[in-house]
Amino acid sequence: MKGDEVTSEETTPRRNPFSAIGHGIDVMRDWWEHAKVWQRYLVYIGAVVFALILPAPAIGSFMSPGADWTSVLVYPIGTYILLAVGLNVVVGQAGLLDLGFVAFFAIGGYNVAYFGTQYHWNYWATVVMGIAMAAVSGVILGAPTLRLRGDYLAIVTLGFGEIVRITANNADVIGGARGITNVPHPPPIFGTKFLLDPAPYYYLMIVAIALVIIFSVRLQKSRVGRAWAAIREDEDAAELMGVPTFKFKLLAFAIGAMIGGLAGGVYAGKAVFIEPNTFPFILSATILAAVVLGGSGNLPGVILGAFLIGWLPERFRDFAEYRILIFGGVLVLMMALRPEGLLPSRRRKAELREGTGGMGAMGAEVAGPTTEASAEVNQ
């Protein structure tokens, strides 16, 4: 009576196929903790080289037989990764549930499109403007609502996402339902022109992702990151210990929003055309799924999650109509088999086990001898 249905074919019913992976990950993580600086840099360089050769057609013909691989790498994969890293700040680091993250993506995109087409601003200026506007709207949204607890925040952010989309859809100043056409491309960098070939956008995306990752890691290791962890684990205790929780939550919202805005700006620079339907609620849900699937709070996990969620539907274009169905089923199955995500951070894993991290455990569950929550600790 405890989820064994799912794993009944295994010889040892307690183990599911992911526990071996989980063990392997732990070994790798231990190595990483004790790795020397040069070893770490080797890994960084390896990651960058990997990212650079990823668009190669040889890889693409396997990875994406149905659509152009480099385009797929920019959108959805790259864009999802950028968004997921941003949402991870809010959900994974500060433990706030945001179901309207797409709003900031939209704000970034619309700023680039609007100021680029109406006032012919430089692309980079419009991106900065988009980031700033996203941060401001993050604060505007957060200020009245961040005092709300978890689930109320979820519905309010969901509402905010819809408000932004519907407003864009009905505001003629920004094109209404027509959207904005002929969004300017970024100006050339080092002689590389940004036209319709997706490759330069891919490298731009890589730079953006790298910067955001560095930023995010630095934050996590700073006083701010520790404050977020404290809030995530026990908000009341954090407040009592002198952490100004409201300010830090607002900061998390603003920073997440800025990253979302950046993603919108990069996206709009390539897309040529944006419309309100580019920013539906389901995109918020998808990005959240990427964060949780990968391992909320752990950057490599989040990136992996976003990659998979962006890539799998493209890879399985052969299944055409059925791929969304499969996507939904995989989410349910993954959460049943590995609710902590593919690559959870160890700390988060411990938190989740105690039911403190993020939004806490579901109600109506009493930990007891049959609860599998403790099964993995013993390995």
């Binding site: 009576m1 405890k2 989820g3 799912v6 549930l97 009245p144 609502t145 709300l148 607890r149 978890g150 689930d151 109320y152 979820a154 519905i155 309010v156 509402g159 905010f160 819809e162 408000i163 519907i166 407003t167 009905n170 009341d236 849900a285 959240l288 799924a289 949780v292 699937l293 909320s296 109509e321 059925y322 969304i324 169905l325 996507f327 939904g328 089923g329 995989v330 989410l331 349910v332 993954m334 959460m335 049943a336 609710p339 902590e340 989740l352 991290g357 993020g358 939004m359 806490g360 455990a361 579901m362 109600g363 109506a364 569950e365 009493v366 930990a367 049959t370 609860t371 599998e372 929550a373």
Partner: protein, 321 residues
Amino acid sequence: MLQDFLNQILPSTVGGLVIGSIYALVALGYTMVYGVLRLINFAHSEIFMIGTFASLVLLTAIAPAAPATFGIAMIGTLLLCMVVSAIASGGAAVLLETVAYRPLRKRGATKLAALISAIGASIFLQELFALEIIPWLTDKPGRNQASAPRFVPRDELFHIGNAAVRLDHVIVIIAAVLVMIALDQTVSKTRIGRGIRATAQDPEAAVLMGVSIDNIVRVTFLLGGAMAGVAGALYLMEIENTVFNVGFVLGIKAFTAAVLGGIGNLRGALLGGIVLGLIENWGAIFLGSQWKDVIAFTVLVIVLMFRPTGILGESLQRARA
């Protein structure tokens, strides 16, 4: 503007009450599941969708070919629709709980993981219906709108000012209120209802008192699902069309209604649904119908700013942090 307002206020109020009643019925499912599990059951909108299709299939099968008239046959058909939809939706909700939530509960997963599972289940059910079940039920492409025959006549019963109140309006409102009273009585008076309230308040103590959590959770999903099924039957009777993603917008609205009234609070769901339906329609008089959703969410934010636990507050259980 004032003239417009005077002309439209009464008809809009009637329309708001009707759609608000349906919001309220769907909101009950969110509220009950949230009260017991602290889980936003995102797939509840698909439970509602299943209810609309159950009624659709039934209506198509018994095909009331004759022009719709008021009478025993009509009332019988209506009751049958409500029962069939309630069974279909309630059953689907229990199945959903068993497949998508129970394994997570058993592993002590976080609410966040459960939420993702709920979103996954929602996507899965929508697509399953669009690709397989609806074509099988209706012999038409699954993403097309499916239409039901009319069996409740649109007779005008009486006027309130310039607003015509029709038979179908009265049926929706009365049926919704009756069903809700029945549910309220079940939860407050019966043994199983006591179990639900006890679990919502303190699951550990409830277990110690001999309550079977699994049973309680199952019953909660069953009751919430059945309410969504009744809502689906009434919706189909009123709108006479349904489609695989009919639940999406309605589900978000109903969840908003639940939070507005005070999530976990059955009477709050009723109040929230009605308030939401009315405010949307009233706001549309001035701003245009395209702003309905924005009005709804803005009101929600404002209410939560002043009453952080909704209009009536959480009460199926006391608030747990």
